[in-house]
């Protein structure tokens, strides 16, 4: 299964397989892969931004909340963007600069959710000699419910 393969941390490897700005077709779906979100991955993400809320760590506490169990922070889509895309996805191109993002949150992701992504470039343009691509993304859980949806602006490497 693709999701069980070790994650390639060398973004230079396979760089030649990725689309450059000229190749990217707005509206064309990006290849994506399902990803099982683990409690460990949530806890590591929480640690990286200093999250301490027990709703992410303490199952007994989480059961007393409106969510009825452990959840991931809303911003877990930061991890999901890379865990749900393959090595030749152009978001991995070295030198990709993130200019800004907007995200809407529907329901939380939870430990053991099998998460899928529908994603595409939505637009591309040139501004002040920089090559921009707008991407939009929707993450779903295994029940087909929308977790969150978002749009981002990246400056492509030249």
């Amino acid at each position: 299964m693709a999701e069980m393969q070790a994650f390639e941390t060398d973004f230079w490897k396979d760089a030649n397989l990725r689309k450059v700005w000229d190749d990217i077709v707005p509206g064309e779906p990006r290849k994506t892969i399902p990803y099982t979100l683990t409690r460990e991955a949530i806890e590591l993400y929480c640690r990286s931004v200093g999250e301490t809320n027990p709703i992410y760590f303490d199952e007994a506490y989480a059961k007393t909340t409106r969510y009825g169990g452990l959840i991931a922070p809303p911003s877990i889509h930061i991890l999901l963007m890379f865990s749900c895309t393959p090595v030749d996805d152009w978001m991995r191109s070295p030198g990709t600069v993130n200019a800004g993002q907007s995200w809407s949150y529907n329901i939380p992701a939870r430990p053991n959710d099998v998460i899928t992504l529908q994603a595409r470039a939505l637009d591309k343009f040139i501004k002040r000699e920089r090559l921009f691509v707008v991407h939009d993304n929707v993450f779903f859980n295994q029940k087909g419910n929308v977790i969150c949806s978002g749009r981002g602006w990246t400056i492509r490497p030249m």
Binding site: F7, T9, D10, F11, W12, A41, L44, Y45, R47, S48, V49, G50, E51, N53, I55, T64, T65, R66, P73, P74, S75, I78, L79, M81, F82, S83, R92, P94, G95, T96, V97, N98, A99, G100, Q101, S102, W103, S104, Y105, R128, E129, R130, L131, I155, R156, P157, M158
Partner: protein
């Protein structure tokens, strides 16, 4: 003091956590986000130019700002039974190892819709020099069936 929709008013402030940025914190964010772009790892690479942009050294992930702002919003919203519904951000200045950053928010407006209640929040992240490194806005829902924790 627990925040309530009724008591909130435009201009109210939300203070977020300070965050010390280091090579280690950036590396940890790489591992947690799986974003191993050399912008965040490779000093030699970062001596180069990126189209029209030059950074001069590794920089923190822009999305680390996003995660910190989101943490501030949820830590504020959860005890009030409110739900973080949206966050939009723009990066305005790179953040580097050695910087200390802090998000904050200002209530901009409240809105009641047919089925719920909403609070719009202007958010900003500043570095230790008081410079804005990220700006944006957040939307928090205060459902009528409040579930306070």
């Amino acid at each position: 003091m627990t925040t309530t929709f009724e008591k909130l008013k435009a201009g109210d402030a939300i203070d977020g956590p300070t965050f010390a940025v280091s090579r280690e914190s950036i590396r940890l964010f790489c591992d947690a986000s799986l974003d191993y772009n050399p912008l965040h790892l490779d000093d030699e690479y970062m001596k180069g130019n990126f189209g029209k942009t030059s950074f001069g050294g590794i920089i923190m992930h822009g999305m680390n700002n996003f995660g910190l702002i989101s943490r501030m919003i949820t830590d504020w919203a959860y005890p009030a039974g409110a739900i973080h519904r949206r966050l939009e951000t723009r990066w305005v200045k790179p953040v580097r190892p050695g910087d200390t950053i802090q998000p904050s928010g200002i209530i901009k407006a409240k809105q009641v819709t047919e089925k719920s209640r909403w609070v719009m929040i202007d958010v900003v992240v500043k570095n230790q020099a008081g410079e804005k490194v990220a700006t944006g806005e957040a939307l928090v829902e205060f459902p009528r069936d409040l579930f306070c924790q």
